[in-house]
């Protein structure tokens, strides 16, 4: 069930409501950008631009679910556009910086290597993997957000998983996931 916005109609959202929306969704938007771009300053710039665009489009959004859907869609497309516009090279496995996440459970070496592998995926599969495992979205939801067939999303996910598993095994040799 959609959580209602502070104001009943999005068209009536005041500046203070917008501030609440930013605070509520900033982690999601920033994280998608950060995981996709593997660049904190670029991720922040992109996330800010997404919220500026949201502010300009508030009148067309009707509920918090709608806002969340819109944010995921726009963030995803902007990530891909940003990468294509800047012509960023594919991230080399050893160049992906450590995230500012709190200490992780599990093997930190494995986590670092996996993060690097995700950053080395092609654009669309990377975004799909991020939406699937960061946002815990189902393939159907991802297909709606990215406007692509469910079968394509599932296919990207399966291939990405298989590739990640294979590369992890190869990279870490004896270490198993």
């Amino acid at each position: 069930m959609a959580e209602p916005l502070p104001a009943e109609k999005a068209a009536d959202i005041a500046e203070s409501d917008f501030a609440e929306i930013v605070r509520r969704h900033q982690v999601m938007v920033y994280s998608i950008a950060q995981h996709f771009l593997a660049d904190r300053s670029a991720a922040e710039e992109l996330a800010q631009d997404v919220f500026l665009q949201l502010h300009a489009n508030l009148a067309s959004l009707k509920s918090d679910d709608h806002v969340k859907f819109w944010l995921r869609k726009v963030t995803g497309h902007r990530c891909i556009d940003y990468k294509r516009r800047r012509g960023l090279p594919q991230v080399a496995l050893d160049d992906v910086p450590e995230c500012a996440a709190p200490a992780e459970a599990g093997d930190p070496l494995l986590s670092r290597r996996l993060r690097q592998l995700v950053a080395s995926l092609p654009e669309k599969p990377r975004l799909i993997v991020i939406l699937r495992y960061q946002e815990d979205m189902a393939a159907e939801e991802i297909s709606n957000v990215l406007a692509m067939p469910v079968a394509t999303v599932k296919s990207h996910l399966q291939r990405s998983l298989a590739m990640l598993r294979e590369k992890m095994t190869r990279a870490l040799g004896e270490v198993t996931i």
Partner: protein, 134 residues
């Protein structure tokens, strides 16, 4: 079975690695500052462009379009008339020049006739004088 287990472990590891990251400090404040900055810039531009809002109304838009179309047609007709008048003026000037040339040719022709008759008279006088001497 082992492949399934590996897949599950990979998925678990992905969930762990791709969990949400905290946004930078004061992120929301910076977004709100940019929104305020943009609002104030748009407000300033809005005052400058306020006269333009008149054209948002459909009736005014249609009236403007009609006036522009009428002005274009009238301008076209006027231009055509000016071009026609200019051509007429040039044709009349050409005709007058032709008349003047014809008059000049007629005068020159009569002068030549006069000179020719004088020459003939002189020749006839000289021939008469020679016959008288002989």
């Amino acid at each position: 079975m082992s492949v399934d287990n590996d897949m599950n472990r990979t998925e678990d590891a992905l969930k762990r690695v791709l969990r949400r990251q905290p946004a930078p400090d004061s992120f929301a404040d910076r977004v709100l500052a940019r929104v305020a900055e943009r609002n104030s810039a748009e407000s300033g531009r809005g005052h400058r462009d306020s006269w333009w809002c008149v054209f948002v109304q459909p009736l005014v838009r249609w009236a403007t379009a009609t006036a522009l179309a009428v002005a274009l047609v009238a301008g076209g007709l006027h231009y055509r008339q000016v071009q026609y008048d200019k051509a007429e003026r040039e044709r009349a000037q050409g005709e007058a020049a032709k008349q003047r040339l014809m008059l000049a040719l007629r005068i020159a022709s009569s002068k030549l006739q006069l000179a020719k008759s004088k020459v003939n008279e002189i020749n006839a006088d000289q021939a008469g004088n020679r016959e008288e001497k002989e």
